[in-house]
């Protein structure tokens, strides 16, 4: 399966082959449900100048995004994590880049799920 910009489908495909549709849907739902509160935590930490807390929130988003193959979300959150680790500042543009990447996430994940399920049914 070809990688689409912003998402490497191999991770959801691997999950679909092992755990089937219920696992993939559960993992994607977990991502979509749990990332917005972590972004809110990230924003609040940055607003308070708490770079260690911002770095932890960003790192957590990096991990989740990586495990579902959302490469642009992963890279945007990683950039914030690195800036926070250096004590900041974290420019607003970095958070905007994460917002933009996350806005595409539901569409990318739904498309990847559909293809992953087609692949397992065909296989």
């Amino acid at each position: 399966m070809a990688a689409r910009r912003g998402l490497n489908p191999i991770y959801l495909q691997d999950l679909a082959e092992s755990g089937g549709e219920p696992l993939v849907r559960d993992v994607v739902r977990t991502f979509l449900d749990t990332v917005p509160p972590r972004v809110a935590t990230l924003r609040a930490a940055l607003g308070q100048g708490d770079h260690p807390a911002a770095g932890r929130a960003a790192h957590s988003i990096v991990s989740s995004a990586a495990m579902v193959g959302l490469t642009e979300v992963q890279e945007a959150a990683r950039a914030i994590e690195l800036l926070a680790a250096q004590g900041g500042p974290v420019p607003p543009g970095s958070v905007s880049a994460l917002d933009r990447a996350l806005a595409d996430a539901p569409t990318l994940l739904n498309e990847a799920m559909r293809r992953a399920f087609e692949g397992t049914q065909a296989g």
Partner: protein
């Protein structure tokens, strides 16, 4: 499901210390549903140590970047406990964290994987560590 119930105590007990809910969900599914391990989960370092005190662990998977006491701190404390001196311990780390990996080995970690990891590879590594532990005990 792959059967994995040695040592007369039922399923082997694996501690997963991980605060990321997505990674946790994937690990729990693969370890318990597919491979028959009993998984005990903690989402911070202090909770991980409490679980380790309460349970008889057969292996541990520790995220290095845990909130509070981090994974390296948990690793160091586990190695101080006589019953966990030889516990198979695998660390989860991120790209660009080579210093953490080196520190983990210095503190007694047996192996590590970098996120994003292949769950199948992680399971294979855990099973290899468990098998090696069985062999070591058999030849000791």
């Amino acid at each position: 499901m792959t059967s994995d119930t040695p040592n007369g105590r039922g399923a082997r007990v694996v501690l997963v210390a991980e605060d990321d809910p997505v990674t946790t969900k994937i690990l729990l599914h693969r370890l318990s549903h597919e491979h028959g391990f009993r998984v005990v989960h903690a989402d911070d370092g202090t909770a991980a140590l409490a679980v380790a005190e309460r349970e008889a662990l057969d292996a541990a998977i520790l995220d290095i970047r845990l909130p509070g006491l981090d994974g390296l701190g948990v690793l160091a404390r586990l190695r101080e406990m006589p019953r966990y001196e030889r516990l198979p311990i695998l660390m989860l780390t991120s790209l660009g964290s080579e210093r953490d990996v080196v520190r983990g080995f210095e503190l007694g970690a047996d192996d590590y994987v970098v996120k994003p990891f292949s769950p199948a590879e992680l399971i294979a590594r855990v099973r290899r560590l468990l098998a090696r532990g069985e062999t070591d005990r058999g030849t000791a």
